[in-house]
């Protein structure tokens, strides 16, 4: 069976099917209203005790951040509006407490779910958890206790709530398999925090396995094997061992340089979206930030962010990186990223439309505010500015002219900034790659944005499921453009990085090293693995194969070549 791998690792073990007990609530008319109110109040008291208990357990076993959720639960179960509404329902409709709880909770849940806001949708889940707790207490329903697991088991469930995972005895849990949820669901996050493998998205799995069944799960590939053969068990025991050893090797990469077997040093950097992401960069020993997307400042707000707010957000990242490079990309909206208050026009082809640098060069007020904030932040670290979606030399010159204006303003105001701040461009439009020999004369660095470069080069909308099979980073045409860009950059003496998904792809890293890429920027969690690959690859060896690889006819041939001749 194949689901979505949400937390890597291999587990082999017996199954415990964890099913939530059915909660059936019926509407009953009651005479004694005081008695119902009293039942409700007692249930709330018990509920609070349970929640406090879970808070303590989680705080002790997992961590403060994870425990916080139970503080939120406590606020909800005590909430004067919510409880007030429940009591009001009991009184005015003369109904049982169960019905009033369910009815009121559903009303709030629906309200939260209907607001376009991830935070409120999460609160809807909290409220579901809290109201179920109240109903279980009122109806006297026993729940299965994951805290008293006595044997090491793999938990199979529809989905797990924070309450479920909090009381779980984690020493006895080998892995999770769930029907619902994706990479960002609570269960997946918890699994990654506890470093146990998890697979989700397996419909009906709770009915396909029963307690005591032996299964194997592969949390990277999303594979679940029910009643595996001797052969399969042997294979996966080995895989599990290899995985553990590899994890230790990665841990070992912390504090090391990213240097190839033949002594070529490169930089492994991180892509981030908010200042909060810096924690992970430091934890995984990033050598810099290769892409700081600034859209969040604009998208999480109802109005344009001020210079001051932007300055704070950039400055804190620059400071925390302590002199390591921080490449900040100027506003890249339009396309699939809308900002309601900008009133962007609806377009037939948004990806080919009014977006990124095109918007900034038109709305120079927005652009200059951002450039001023970026320049000011450059006084606090090693900041570099990067313009997205460049298709012509004129755009580079226009953008730099506005940057010069911003610098001049700051000089006049006696505000410090880095006079030698580096300015670069994203190479993501095929014309920029083809013409990169000339572009390289105008800038201090290139960063190849593979996500868009592939999409534009192959003319494939990467969001369209029907044609997504055509989107392929091993396409020789794409690889030729990448190689050309790196070579042209080097000819003019500028460094060339990459900040698309491809930079963290284990199969492409050796190839990119061979082409001479200087900086690899990727999600923080991929950095140590990338460093390990670099440290185990010889640049010269790959370089000597490049001509052969780039003359292969298809993407599949390229992938096969890498698998067999480079990784194999």
């Amino acid at each position: 069976m194949k689901g979505i791998g949400t937390s890597p690792g291999i587990a082999l073990g017996h199954v415990i099917v964890y099913k939530e007990p059915e909660i059936a609530v019926t509407k009953e008319q009651v005479q004694d209203i005081d008695k119902e109110i009293d039942r409700l109040e007692k249930a709330i008291k018990i509920g609070i005790k349970q929640i406090e208990n879970l808070y303590e357990k989680t705080l002790k076993n997992v961590g403060k951040e994870e425990a916080e959720i139970f503080n939120a639960h406590k606020m909800m179960i005590e909430d004067p509006e919510f409880i007030g509404d429940v009591k009001e329902t009991i009184k005015s409709q003369e109904v049982n407490a169960e019905w009033a709880v369910k009815n009121t909770a559903d009303k709030y849940i629906e309200m939260f779910e209907n607001i376009e806001d991830e935070y409120l949708r999460e609160r809807a889940l909290d409220l579901k958890d809290v109201s179920k707790r109240l109903l279980r207490i009122l109806l006297d329903i026993e729940t299965m206790d994951l805290g008293s697991l006595e044997e090491e088991s793999i938990i199979v469930a529809e989905d797990l709530t924070p309450s479920d995972t909090a009381q779980m005895n984690k020493d006895m849990v080998l892995g999770f398999v769930t029907e619902l949820g994706g990479k960002t669901s609570h269960t997946s996050i918890m699994a990654r925090t506890l470093e146990i493998p998890a697979v989700s998205g397996l419909k009906d799995i709770t009915n396909k396995v029963k307690n005591g069944d032996f299964i194997i799960i592969d949390g990277k590939e999303g594979i679940v094997l029910l009643n595996p053969s001797e052969e399969e068990i042997k294979t996966y025991e080995q895989k599990k061992k290899d995985y553990k050893e590899f994890q230790l090797k990665l841990e070992d990469m912390k504090g090391k340089e990213s240097i190839s077997k033949d002594g070529v040093k490169v930089e492994i950097a991180a892509n981030i979206g908010t200042p909060k992401d810096v924690d992970k960069v430091i934890e995984n020993d990033g050598e810099g930030i290769g892409l700081y997307r600034t859209e969040f400042l604009y998208m999480d707000s109802k109005t344009l962010p001020t210079e001051e707010e932007q300055f704070e957000a950039y400055k804190i990242v620059a400071e925390r990186l302590e002199g390591k490079p921080v490449v900040i990309r100027t506003l890249d909206v339009g396309g699939d990223k809308d900002i309601p208050y900008l009133d962007l026009p609806e377009e037939m082809n948004p990806f080919l439309g009014y977006r990124a640098i095109r918007l900034c060069l038109d709305r120079t007020d927005i652009f200059k505010t951002q450039l001023r904030a970026l320049l000011r932040a450059s006084a606090f670290g090693n900041v570099k500015i990067m313009f997205p979606m460049i298709s012509s030399i004129q755009e580079i010159r226009d953008a730099k002219k506005i940057l010069e204006e911003a610098k001049e303003e700051l000089r006049k105001e006696n505000i410090p900034f880095d006079e030698n701040i580096e300015v670069g461009i994203m190479v993501e439009i095929p014309a920029a790659a083809v013409h990169s020999d000339i572009f390289a004369k105008e800038v201090d660095f290139f960063s190849i944005g593979t996500n868009d470069l592939i999409q534009y080069t192959l003319a494939v909308d990467r969001g369209n499921q029907d044609i997504s099979y055509l989107y392929n980073q091993y396409h020789p045409g794409v690889l030729k453009l990448i190689k050309m860009t790196i070579e042209n950059g080097h000819k003019e003496g500028i460094w060339v990085g990459m900040c698309g998904e491809a930079a963290g792809d284990e199969k492409l890293i050796p190839l990119l090293l061979g082409m001479g890429l200087d900086e690899f920027s990727m999600s923080s969690s991929s950095m140590l693995r990338a460093r390990w690959i670099i440290n185990n690859t010889s640049k010269r060896e790959i370089e000597s194969m490049l001509d052969e690889i780039l003359s292969l006819p298809t993407a599949e041939d390229v992938e096969k070549f890498i698998d067999e001749k480079i990784l194999g």
Partner: protein, 87 residues
Amino acid sequence: MYKQEVTLQNETGLHARPASLFVKEASRFSADVKVLKDGKEYNAKSIMGILSMGAGKGDTILIQAEGDDAKDAVEALVKLVNDNFNE
């Protein structure tokens, strides 16, 4: 009755952590504390109420309280907002 108007300057507005800090602060007082926005009234001691209000950055809200410590309550909440919830 005591009341004061205040504008939300922090990134998240009355949301997430700031919302719960706001409710916790309001709950410290015995006064009846309300928040008014766009002509609607919300219970300042209710996380549900505050969240459903949906006040974001740049929105102006009116905090009003009635009871013994009404003035202290309003002042404490205004300070919390003006300090940007210590974000």
